[in-house]
Amino acid sequence: MPLAFLLPAAFFLGVWVVYPTFATMWRSLFSDRGDRFVGLDNYERMFTDEAVQTAIKNNVLWVLVIPAGVTAVGLVFAVLTEKVRWAVAFKIAVFIPLAVSLFAVGVIWRIMYQEDPERGAVNAAIVGVQGIVGERGVLSSAQPSTDALTGTPQGGLTLQDAVEPGDVALLGLTAIRADEIPEDGVDAVQPEPLQGGITGVVWRDFKPGGGNPGEVESEETGLAGVTVELRAGESGNAIESTMTGEDGSFAFEEVEAGEYRVAIGSETFAEPFEGFSWLGQSLITPAIMIAYIWVSAGFAMVIIAAGLSAIPRDTLEAARTDGATEFQVFRRITVPLLAPVLTVVFVTQIIACLKIFDLVLAIAPGSSRNDATLLAFEMWRRSFSGQNLYGLGSAISTFLLLLFIPFLIVNVRRFRAEAK
């Protein structure tokens, strides 16, 4: 009779858990279309598939980093909330992400991780802090208009031919960002040569249609506020420097006879730090992990905080009375007493991060999915994203199930032990 009460539960478990599990295992032995028995071929395909190999590597990385990371962060939060005022408010703030669906979390982080600091909050914050230190040059993206200027914008641009007093130096630049073109700019004018001096002009060597590179023409704007250096011909040491005027012209007066070089210093072209490429190939996995830790820290904190409050206070008091420092109390009393709780968090997180799927789908752009992929994601991609490789997908599922089993056994054993 007691067994009868189990029937409804057993029925639903059977329909939605037991049957699909075995059907998937059976399916993994058939071809993608399900019309041919292929034995273990799908498993061979799986282990030789490059994307699945990356997925396995990434899953290993997740299992190494995430459970430890989440437990550690949760432990720190739990211990700290015991000591701060407004502990409840703090706990709620840390716990809230858990109430948001993982997919929504992914969408939020995808937006925050955008590379352009104008769009992505993470890079905006980094650039904001960094912006206090670094400064943008007046012409951050300019390029030389002809081969007469050599060097790179990052190292400064130098006029290739040496100049002597009485010469005119023409420093033409193009590819100037729209917002860096002087709005009320004055047309550049080729300056007159100066007896015993070097004159020249820095100008935007471009007008609609392109114009003739290297020639100062009408409609081409002078660039004001550019620092021009006069360098010694031999050593290349800067001798003098000056700033261009409104029409982009500059002059070094009373220069001794000899050969010189005219250059625009690299500070003119300084590009501000534009932020990290979070969603690029190399940072995508850490980026997704950070998002995951952000979600799970709350869960870990709540469980651990519950464990903490169950620790007998008198043990802690006794240790303190015996002269233990706070760190010793934490290390020798709190952590060992918390060990069972920490194991719960740890094992749960192993299982949780083996099945991560939605975060990869939501955060990784198409171009870095191959680098961010995890087994559960790969299983979906092969079977359902239009590829319809059901045989391969079932094989990946079955493999994933095998990976779960040890941790499930650990968990079940622990439940039993606790029940006793």
Binding site: T174, K207, S277, P365, G366, R369, G386, Q387
Partner: protein, 444 residues
């Protein structure tokens, strides 16, 4: 306490009903199977009096969903005894492949690509459309029939078309740089240099979505190798290591390798999704001067930017590469297929192939009809009218990646071209990797 019990009981009953309904699906299908034999004899004479209830599944939601519903209403007006239930799914391939596996597909569905159609046809889930062949041949250019066939058997009729051979540009930036829309590839590339010198990168590339890159490749390939080679590559009769492919990749590298001339550089392009690649061309200040994509760009521009047609944005056809390839158009479309045969489903398919059905949506805008007999005057503006004309032409070719097995055409090909965007110098390596992926997709 009693209340709780009552709720539990109600829940249990609801679940049982749900399970029962699921099992009942099979019976329905058998019923439809029985209908088969009668259908063949009756449709010919009694076309007027079809009746029954059919389910239609397609990707269209929102305004597009309403427009499609209007098209379906046109059908039910003519056939009052038929009840048509429309269901939209953002990812029809997934929904359908599970419902086919479960033995309960909708009667009629619009698939986003013929590659998916070929998958279902290969699994024997589709019914050939021979009954409608006459109507379709009357109304469609050859390229559409080929794209709708699998192994010479006609399985699909295209309902909504896309012209992918268009380039959309920011008019102000073109004026500031003093360039005109180009007609040939050389001018296109020299325009790009001029645009760079003016201070605005020439290209906006949505490289986070691989399909924008396959579209670019297909446009270049169709023009540089010609329609015949294109057909051979589409069916994998020539390998991807063929010289025509490496030539096309070399041309493509002239765009992708011009990294200073791409909005955000290479890494920026790899993270830019398609909608952003459009909006950033018309942002203030613009991040690039032009974006190469199909006629659906117009929808994104009008929905998400302030740009006005002709003064803010405009469009030109993808430039000719070989000289004699004017009018070569790469296109795509949604293909309507029949999963369950019934007189009502047959009547609906025939109806969707007619110009009348397509004009209903064309009038509402945002629709390019693949049907060549659709009256051009119904289009609400010049831009869609021009795009639609290209789709009826003889040099129309269907989007090559959509014709591939999904594992290649909508996965491996995407990521390999994204790798190519990362490293445009590696033409040979890319061609070899494409061939390896194509071979495994065709072999398996």
């Amino acid at each position: 306490m009693t209340k709780q019990r009552f709720i539990l009981l109600a829940l249990l009953l609801a679940m049982l009903a749900f399970v029962a309904a699921g099992c009942g699906g099979d019976d329905d299908e058998e019923g439809a199977g029985d209908g088969d034999t009668t259908a063949e004899t009756t449709t010919a004479e009694e076309e007027e009096s079809v009746s029954g209830s059919i389910n239609v599944l397609a990707v269209w939601t929102g305004a597009e969903g309403e427009a499609f519903q209007a098209v379906l209403d046109g059908f039910t007006e003519a056939n009052p005894d038929v009840e048509v239930k429309y269901q939209s799914a953002t990812d029809p391939a997934t929904v359908l492949s599970t419902s086919v596996e479960g033995g309960n597909p909708p009667d009629v569905a619009a698939l986003p690509s013929p590659g998916i159609m070929a998958d279902f046809a290969g699994r024997g889930a589709l019914t050939p459309l021979d009954f409608a062949r006459e109507t379709i041949e009357e109304n469609y250019a050859e390229g559409w029939l080929t794209a709708g066939s699998v192994k010479d058997e006609l399985y699909g009729v295209f309902f909504k078309g896309v012209n992918k051979s268009t380039v959309w540009y920011n008019v102000e930036q073109f004026e500031a740089a003093g360039v005109e829309p180009p007609e040939d590839w050389e001018t296109f590339l020299s325009n790009a240099e001029t645009l760079a010198a003016s201070g605005t990168p020439a290209y906006s590339i949505g490289g986070a979505d691989g399909w924008t890159l396959t579209d670019l490749f297909e446009n270049i390939y169709l023009r540089s190798a010609g329609p015949e080679m294109y057909d051979q590559l589409a069916t994998h009769e020539i390998p991807w290591t063929d010289e025509s492919v490496t030539n096309a990749l070399t041309e493509m590298a002239k765009v992708l390798g011009d990294t200073d001339n791409i909005a955000g550089g290479t890494s920026g392009a790899l993270q830019t999704d398609f909608p952003t690649s459009v909006t950033q061309v018309f942002a203030d200040p613009p991040k690039a001067a032009q974006v190469i994509e199909g006629d659906f760009v117009a929808g994104v521009i009008s929905a998400e930017t302030q740009a006005e047609p002709e003064t803010g944005f405009n469009v030109y056809p993808f430039p000719a590469i070989d000289g004699d390839d004017e009018g070569a158009v790469v296109g795509a479309g949604d293909v309507v297929v029949m999963f369950k045969d019934s007189p009502a489903a047959r009547a609906l398919i025939e109806y969707l192939a007619t110009p009348e059905a397509q004009e209903i949506w064309a009038e509402r805008g945002g629709f390019t009809a693949p049907n060549q007999n659709v009256d051009a005057s119904v289009y609400p503006d010049e831009v869609t009218r021009g795009a639609a004309e290209g789709l009826g032409g003889a040099d129309f070719r269907f989007d090559l990646s959509d014709l591939q097995p999904a594992a290649f055409g909508s996965d491996a090909m995407f990521s390999l071209l994204q790798d190519f965007l990362r490293n445009p110098d590696d033409v040979e390596g890319t061609a070899q990797a494409l061939e390896a992926a194509a071979a495994s997709a065709y072999g398996g």
